[in-house]
């Protein structure tokens, strides 16, 4: 249940489709997290590179984790340019229990931010500028550094 889209996500289409897919499956709670690109610092939008093989591994490991709690995860992310006030990222948890669902959406989104192999760029005057200062180094970063 991981989907990548070129450009902005169609929030209504995606969240409606997920809702319809789960509504009759006796989960008690559906909790989507919808990220919307903010107009700030003079950007026109954001742009993304995604490394699919590791993203898939990361997502599948989370899906297994969710399954052990009777829950299920969905995620959609953009590749390429996403203009201000449109969406680049949607995650959702479906869970029989409210508390499990609320905990999972928090932990899943936070781990996504820290570990999903996706690179973000600001779109400024038609150029892609790597959002270095908002990015987080992955586990083991600096392994090949000469200072290491």
């Amino acid at each position: 249940m991981l989907e990548l889209h070129d450009g902005s996500l169609d929030v209504v289409e995606i969240t409606s489709r997920w809702y319809k897919a789960v509504k009759d499956k006796n989960f008690g709670a559906l909790i989507p997290f919808i990220g919307i690109v903010r107009d700030e610092k003079g950007i026109d939008g954001l742009s993304f590179d995604v490394y699919e093989p590791i993203l898939n591994n990361w997502f599948n490991a989370w899906q297994e984790k969710a399954k052990k709690e009777g829950a299920m995860l969905y995620m959609a992310h953009s590749r390429g340019d996403v203009l201000n006030h449109t969406s680049s990222y949607i995650s959702a948890v479906v869970s029989p229990q409210r508390k499990v669902g609320l905990r999972l959406i928090n932990d899943f989104v936070e781990d996504f931010k820290a570990n999903a192999p996706i690179w973000k760029y600001d779109l400024i005057g038609g150029k892609r500028v790597y959002a270095r200062e908002r990015s987080q180094a992955l586990s083991g970063a600096g392994l090949l550094s000469k200072d290491n």
Binding site: A114, P117, L143
Partner: protein, 73 residues
Amino acid sequence: MARIEFLGPIGKEPEDIDIKNLKELKELFAGDKKLEEWLDICAVAINDTLVNEIDVKIQPNDKISLLPPVCGG
């Protein structure tokens, strides 16, 4: 030959290299001023699994990926 990929913002074409372990890769890259700033902050994956040790063996046909700091969402 192992293949090395420079992901995301590094913006460098993949290269095929003849090394037996990551330590040799580190030595190979030493002195590449342009790459050095990336090496300080990049994680390393072999065949799409992140690794934490420099003496990992490299097999022919292994895929080595350099992953800069991430920011999805």
